[in-house]
C-alpha cells in the first residue's frame, strides 16, 4: 500500500464533502513533512549535527580534557597542511587503496566469470565466495597480523621454505601496504564478485549467441561483450571500494599490535588518515581541534574523489544501459 500524498481532487466528481476544519487543512499541509521527519531527525542528530560540531571544534584549540577552548580560526588547518605526518598518512591511505582495489576488482571479475559458467553446486560456490565477508574485521586483522609476523609468521616461514629472505611486514612501508591490502581483498573480493555476477546474468544470452556465430572465442566474448556491458557495475564497485578504502581503520589498526599501534609502525609505515585523526584527537595527544581538522580534510578528500568518480561515471557509464543514462543526466 502506498500513501497518497497529493491533495488534488479525484478525477471522478466526488460527493459533496463536509466543510474542512482547520485541523484538517493543517493536516493536509503539514503531515507530509511529518512523514519524512524521522529520516531528517535521525540524519540531523547522527549526521548533520556531528558534522557541524566537528567543524566548530576544528576552529578551536580544544584540549579534550581542558575546560576552556580558545578560538583559533583556521590555524589547525594551516598547521595540518604543513604537517608532513598528515601527508604521509594520506600517501599511505591512497597507496593501500590502489594496491587493494585494483587486484580486488580484477579478481572479482574473474571469479564472477567462473561462477557464471555451468558449475556443479553453483549456489554453494556462490555462497562460499561471500563467506569471508561475514567474518568480523577485527578477527581477520588479528589473524592476518599473526600470519604476517616478522619472526613467527607463516608467510615468512613459507618464504623461507622457498629460500627467500624474511620480509619485515610491519616495518617496511610497501610490504605493510601489501599485507593490509591482502586483508581487505580477502574480505571484499567475494562481495564484489557476487555483484558483478548479478550484472553478468542480466546480459542477454543472444549477444553471446551472436558472438559465437561470428566465431568469437570465450576470451573474446568476455572482453568484447561481458566487460563493456559491466562497466556501470564495475564503477559502482569502484565507488564502494573508494569510500571503504579512504576510511580504512580497523585492518591497519589491528595489524599493528604492541605499544601505540595507532601510529601504524615505528615510522608510521601503515598509518592511514583515520588512524592519524584518532592519534591526534585521542591518545596520546588529546588535541580534539586538530583531530577534527583531520576529519574535515578527510571529508573534503572523499568528496573530491567521489566527484571524480561521478565525472568518470558520466563519461563512461552512460552508454551501457539507457536507464543508467537517464539516471545520471537528470
Amino acid at each position: 500500500m502506498t500513501v497518497q500524498l497529493d491533495a488534488r481532487p479525484p478525477v471522478v466528481p466526488a460527493p459533496p464533502q463536509p466543510p474542512r476544519g482547520r485541523f484538517s487543512r493543517l493536516d493536509t499541509r503539514f503531515s507530509p513533512y511529518l512523514y519524512i521527519a524521522p529520516f531528517f531527525l535521525i540524519f540531523g542528530v547522527f549526521g548533520a549535527y556531528p558534522l557541524a560540531y566537528t567543524f566548530w571544534v576544528s576552529l578551536h584549540d580544544w584540549d579534550l580534557l581542558g575546560t576552556d577552548h580558545p578560538f583559533v580560526g583556521a590555524e589547525n588547518y594551516t598547521r595540518l597542511l604543513a604537517d608532513p605526518d598528515f601527508w604521509h598518512a594520506l600517501v599511505n591511505t591512497m597507496g593501500i587503496f590502489v594496491i587493494s582495489t585494483v587486484p580486488q576488482l580484477l579478481a572479482a571479475l574473474w571469479l564472477a566469470n567462473l561462477l557464471n559458467r555451468g558449475l556443479r553446486a553453483r549456489t554453494g560456490w556462490r555462497m562460499a565466495v561471500l563467506v569471508p565477508n561475514v567474518t568480523s574485521t577485527a578477527a581477520v586483522a588479528i589473524v592476518f597480523g599473526v600470519l604476517f609476523g616478522r619472526e613467527f609468521g607463516m608467510i615468512n616461514w613459507l618464504l623461507d621454505m622457498v629460500g627467500m629472505d624474511p620480509i619485515g611486514w610491519k616495518s617496511n612501508r610497501v610490504a605493510s601496504w601489501v599485507a593490509i591490502s591482502a586483508m581487505v581483498d580477502w574480505r571484499w573480493t567475494g562481495y564484489n564478485a557476487l555483484i558483478l555476477l548479478a550484472a553478468m546474468q542480466a546480459i542477454p544470452r543472444d549477444l553471446y549467441e551472436a558472438a559465437a556465430i561470428d566465431g568469437a572465442s570465450r576470451a573474446r566474448q568476455f572482453w568484447s561483450v561481458t566487460v563493456p556491458l559491466l562497466k556501470p557495475t564495475i564503477i559502482f564497485c569502484a565507488i564502494i571500494a573508494t569510500i571503504g578504502g579512504l576510511q580504512l581503520f580497523t585492518e591497519p589498526r589491528m595489524f599493528n599490535s604492541g605499544t601505540n599501534p595507532i601510529r601504524g609502525g615505528p615510522l608510521r609505515e601503515s598509518q592511514t588518515l583515520t588512524m592519524y585523526m584518532f592519534e591526534n584527537a585521542f591518545a596520546p595527544h588529546y588535541n580534539f581541534g586538530y583531530g577534527s581538522a583531520v576529519a574535515w580534510l578527510l571529508f573534503a578528500l572523499i568528496a573530491i574523489v567521489a566527484a571524480v568518480n561521478v565525472l568518470i561515471l558520466r563519461r563512461l557509464g552512460g552508454g551501457a544501459r539507457p536507464s543508467a543514462r537517464k539516471g545520471t543526466t537528470r
Binding site: 512523514y35 531527525l41 542528530v45 604492541g258 601510529r263
Partner: protein, 435 residues
C-alpha cells in the same frame, strides 16, 4: 483513500518522532534509585590484583556492590577510554586507576576529579611514601587527585634454563654479580649470544631504554623529558642522552630480539623462550607469568638490575567528579590503597606497595614468588623501595616518550642509524610536545 487513515498515519509519525526525541534526549537508564545497594565501578588496566579485596570489602559493606572493568587491557587501550569518559562527563567508573605517566596531564585539569583533601584524605599522608603522596597533588598543593597504589621498583628477570645452556651461572646472587653496570650487562649478553642458544639476550631495546632512562634520571636530575619547570629538555638532559647511548650499545652488540614490546610477537617470544632477560619493574612479574604461561614456571628467576635502583610505573586511584556515589567511592579507594589493600594486591599480582607500613610488613618482606623459582620478591623489590627516587613527568610525557621509543625501535630494526635515530627522536619529541 479517505482522510481518516491519513490522519492516523500522521498520528503514528508524530508518535514515532516524539519517541525518537525522547530517546535522544535521555540516554541514562542507570540511575540508582533510593537507598538500595550502591554499585561501584572500578576501572583498571593490566594486573592490579584486587579481586580478593573486593570480596572482603563487600562482605564488610553489604550495601556496596563492586564491579571491575579492564583487568588485562593495555594501558594504551585504557587511557584514551578514560580520557573520553572524563571529557564526555559520563561513562567513567566511580574509582579509576591513573598511571604515573598520565597523572600530570590529568592534574592539569583537576576539575574532573574529586578533591580527596576535602574528604579527610590529609590524615592518610603518613601511609604513603612521601614522593608518591606528592605525585597525587596538583601543582599548587591544594587538591589531591589520587591515592597511590604501587611503585615500580626495578629488577632483572632472567631464564635460568637459557643461562645454563649458555654456560652462565644460574643462581640469582651470582647472576646479580655478573652485571654491576649496564656495560657489564652488555658484556654478559655478548657471552650469551656467542653461545648460540637460539634465543636473544633481551626482549626489546625499548623496554631496556625506559629502564635505563628512569634509573639514570632518578639518580641524577630527577627528571627525564621535561624539567621540573615543565620545559622540554629531551635534547639537553644528559640522562636522556646517556640512556640513548647505552641502548645503542645494546643494539649494536646484537643483543635485542627486536620483539616490539606488548605486541603479539612479544607474547609469542615469551611462550617460545626466545629471550633470556627482561628489565622487570615489580608489576612486570605478573605480566611475565601471564605471557609465559604455566609451562615456564620455575624456569624464571629474578636478579638485581644493572646500575642502581630506579622506578618505572606505578599508579594512583582517583574518584571522578561525575561519579554518583562519591562518598562510597572515596571509602573504597581509601581501602584499596591502605597498607592492607596494598599487601593484598602484592600477594595476588605483585605490584609493589607505596605504603611504608606495607613495605615493612612481614607479609611483604618475607614474600616469595613461586613462579620465579621462589625468588624473595619482597626483599628484591621491597628493600630498595623506600630509597626510590621519583622521576618528574612533564605534561606531554606520554606523547614525547612514544616518539623517543619509536626512534629507538627504528634503530633496533635497522631502519635508521643511531645518528639519524637521535635526530628523529629530538625532532619528533618537540613536535609532539607542541601539539
Amino acid at each position: 483513500m479517505a482522510v481518516f487513515p491519513r490522519r492516523r498515519l500522521a498520528a503514528v509519525a508524530l508518535a514515532a518522532t516524539t519517541a525518537l526525541l525522547v530517546t535522544a534526549g535521555c540516554g541514562s537508564g542507570d540511575e540508582q534509585g533510593g537507598d538500595g545497594p550502591v554499585t561501584l565501578t572500578v576501572d583498571v588496566f593490566g594486573q592490579f590484583g584486587y579481586e580478593q579485596l573486593y570480596q572482603e570489602y563487600m562482605a564488610a559493606h553489604p550495601d556496596v556492590k563492586i564491579v571491575e572493568r579492564g583487568t588485562g587491557t593495555n594501558l594504551d587501550e585504557y587511557s584514551p577510554k578514560l580520557t573520553q569518559w572524563l571529557a564526555a562527563g559520563r561513562g567513567a567508573g566511580d574509582v579509576v586507576a591513573i598511571e604515573e605517566g598520565l597523572l600530570v596531564e590529568y592534574k592539569a585539569n583537576p576539575g574532573n576529579f574529586v578533591n580527596l583533601l576535602d574528604h579527610g584524605a590529609a590524615d592518610l599522608k603518613g601511609n604513603f611514601l612521601e614522593w608518591k603522596w606528592n605525585a597525587g597533588l596538583t601543582a599548587d598543593g591544594k587538591q589531591l587527585i589520587g591515592l597511590g597504589t604501587d611503585v615500580g621498583g626495578i629488577a632483572m628477570c632472567y631464564r635460568k634454563d637459557l643461562f645454563s645452556k649458555a654456560g652462565l651461572p644460574t643462581e640469582r646472587d651470582e647472576v646479580s654479580k655478573l652485571w654491576p653496570t649496564w656495560q657489564d650487562y652488555i658484556a654478559t649478553g655478548e657471552k650469551f649470544t656467542a653461545a648460540k642458544t637460539g634465543a636473544s639476550f633481551l626482549d626489546a631495546a625499548t623496554n631496556t631504554f625506559n629502564t635505563i632512562l628512569l634509573q639514570t634520571a632518578g639518580n641524577s636530575s630527577g627528571y627525564s623529558y621535561y624539567d621540573t619547570s615543565e620545559k622540554l629538555v629531551v635534547d639537553s638532559n644528559p640522562a636522556v642522552r646517556q640512556a640513548w647511548d647505552t641502548t645503542m650499545d645494546i643494539i649494536d652488540s646484537g643483543l635485542s630480539g627486536k620483539y616490539g614490546s606488548w605486541s603479539e610477537e612479544w607474547v609469542s617470544a615469551f611462550k617460545q623462550s626466545k629471550f633470556a632477560t627482561i628489565a622487570c619493574p615489580a608489576w612486570m612479574t605478573g605480566v611475565i607469568e601471564a605471557n609465559a604461561g604455566p609451562t615456564a614456571q620455575g624456569k624464571w628467576d629474578i636478579a638485581r638490575v644493572p646500575g642502581n635502583g630506579g622506578n618505572w610505573g606505578g599508579s594512583h586511584l582517583a574518584v571522578p567528579k561525575q561519579s554518583k556515589h562519591q562518598a562510597e567511592a572515596i571509602e573504597l579507594a581509601k581501602f584499596l590503597t591502605s597498607a592492607k589493600g596494598q599487601i593484598g594486591a602484592f600477594k595476588a599480582k605483585g605490584p609493589l606497595p607505596s605504603s611504608p607500613q606495607a613495605l615493612d610488613d612481614p607479609a611483604i618482606t618475607g614474600a616469595k614468588n613461586a613462579y620465579f623459582s621462589d625468588a624473595p620478591v619482597g626483599t628484591i623489590f621491597g628493600s630498595g623501595a623506600k630509597s626510590l627516587k621519583p622521576v618528574y613527568m612533564g605534561p606531554k610525557n606520554q606523547a614525547v616518550r612514544t616518539e623517543v621509543e619509536n626512534a629507538v625501535r627504528t634503530v633496533e630494526l635497522g631502519q635508521r642509524n643511531p645518528g639519524q635515530g637521535w635526530t628523529d627522536a629530538v625532532n619528533n619529541a618537540k613536535k609532539a610536545a607542541a601539539k
